[in-house]
Symmetry: C2
Subunit: 334 residues, 2 copies
């Protein structure tokens, strides 16, 4: 049913080799013949088979994208960015979610290998290790987003967690806060620790000694819940401001605060991280640290394409930006 170059060859009275060359605009074929072949190809509705091409060229022009959940509000724009660049460059994207399950993670790797993807981008905030080992064996280049790794085939594009955290904390300090809490994420250790480092650095820089009671890492993978738990613990520790691992955590804190009659920002200031869409329409609109998510995706894709083109690349770290809205204000009663 599908028309192949052989069919065109027959119709044009030439060999399939000539058709193949003509369609690649090779200078080796007679311009008239080439024109005729192009005409026939169009008329017959020919579309080359990427499958067959891949088999011989040993390139699939395909990249594999792993993430935990598509419904994670952080990843959406990153994926948009990746897809955008990949499409433009003639690459297609295989989407696989790991659901945070190590078994599925390995299955994903096998799938990608079977499909012979040219490269892999990992958004899955955990791991990196698991993929790394197996994929490195296979010489498949990998780019990690917001998740540094190490190894010959492991590169990364990340946002500057520490700098972002410092922006947030400095903002609170400038408003006059002295007791600032941090709600981290137990399930995103590395980045949570980097944000914590930024928080601590800035607090110390202001001459405040770090009180361990002000750092809370609730043991749950659900961000909103985590924010709620975090807030309760920190409020008991008498903070006037909390810096949250991400916007959903911050929103969880906001909700818990309202429930307990704590007024934001009058009684308590709250800062998030990410700048997901809801952050500006929750009540009150959330002060947050914006990650350039679309850009993050584009850079990751670009880096992968560069790797595939044998260009030299090095890890990138993108800066964050503070977005001040209404969830932060000077501390009460002083």
């Amino acid at each position: 049913m599908k028309v192949s170059i052989k069919d065109i060859a027959e119709a044009a009275g030439v060999s399939h080799s000539t058709v193949s060359r003509a369609l690649q605009n090779s200078p080796l074929v007679n311009p008239q013949t080439a024109a005729q072949i192009h005409k026939l190809a169009r008329e017959m509705g020919y579309t080359p088979s990427a499958i067959a091409q891949s088999l011989v060229t040993r390139r699939t022009n395909t990249i594999g994208l792993v993430l935990t959940f598509i419904s994670d509000p952080f990843v959406d724009r990153v994926v948009d960015g990746i897809e955008d660049l990949a499409t433009t460059a003639g690459y297609s994207v295989f989407l696989c979610s790991s659901k945070g399950d190590p078994e599925r993670e390995m299955a994903v790797v096998e799938t990608f290998h079977r499909r012979r993807v040219d490269g892999v981008i990992v958004l899955s905030s955990r791991v990196g290790r698991l993929y790394g080992e197996r994929l490195q064996e296979l010489s498949v280049p990998i780019v990690l987003v917001n998740n540094q790794g190490e190894g010959e085939y492991l590169y990364s594009v990340s946002v500057d967690d520490e700098q972002g955290a410092r922006l947030a904390v400095r903002h609170l300090l400038e408003l006059g806060h002295r007791r600032i809490g941090y709600v981290g994420s137990a399930f995103r250790q590395p980045s949570s620790l980097r944000r914590l480092a930024g928080y601590q650095a800035e607090v110390e820089r202001a001459g405040i000694s770090c009180d361990p009671d002000l750092v809370v890492v609730p043991d749950t993978s659900h961000d909103l819940e985590s924010g709620s738990l975090g807030l309760q613990r920190l409020w008991a520790a008498k903070v006037t401001a909390v810096f949250c691992y991400n916007d959903r955590t911050a929103i969880g804190a906001l909700l818990a605060a309202r429930e307990r009659g704590i007024k934001v920002p009058d009684d308590l200031s709250v800062v998030g991280f990410d700048d997901i869409e809801p952050s500006w329409y929750v009540t009150p609109p959330l002060t947050t640290v914006r990650q350039p998510r679309f850009e993050l995706g584009k850079r990751a894709a670009q880096m992968l394409l560069d790797l595939l083109a044998d260009k030299q690349v090095c890890d990138e770290v993108l800066p964050c930006q503070l977005i001040v809205r209404d969830s932060t204000a000077p501390p009460p009663n002083r």
Copy 2:
């Protein structure tokens, strides 16, 4: 570098045919030989090439997924559902966003054809037509989500827009509202019209004549903005409740209401559609019509797999569910 069945054949001292059969667990090969081959395959780190398999089997075990934007909060869970089922069935998903650009839409179709996807799922709320024509030519089965189409290869899984709308409106009527407005979507004509139909049916059923001033379809593709504009127009028309095309529209209305000092739900009730996550943490938490989005995705994928297995299928329509939260209350002053 990659190990092929030929390599295994050599190592085992048999022909590649035997290896091929052994790995497929064909009864045609000597159990001992088969065991030996499996052992070698494992040791040598063999992974079959899906590319080569596809070339001969004429199946790629691949489905193409088109949507306008991944960052559309509606699609995330639907995609989760699709991906979940597809993966389980051994299929992989190609992700392409059309960005609502007709040119890109056709490019997507060509990409899918080149890659020889076995089937296509379309989440792109518009169109269906464009894909249809070309893809039908190619005999590629298509499943549309929330977007009916027609044609031999066009099937659909949708939510019952009309029923959902009726649930929403009935709820408002039961609370005592008589002047209920509807904010539609200009860029999602078909479903918006179906929701409008449900709205009208229910209003008329209550013995209220339909006032055209109560139906507004702002000319913008931005939902939040649309909700804001819609609210202004409807408030001027003295409604006591508005039913919005979707949650983001409703949130836009909520924001505009707050800006103008209109209290929700005391002065005005607001109902959305979709039940996206933010709907329950905006202020006030939004009464809305829940779409079974994950299920929608799973059903769509299942339908496509059934089509690929030559099973008989027919369009499906899933019911919605009313979720009552705090944005609705009896009308004021009566």
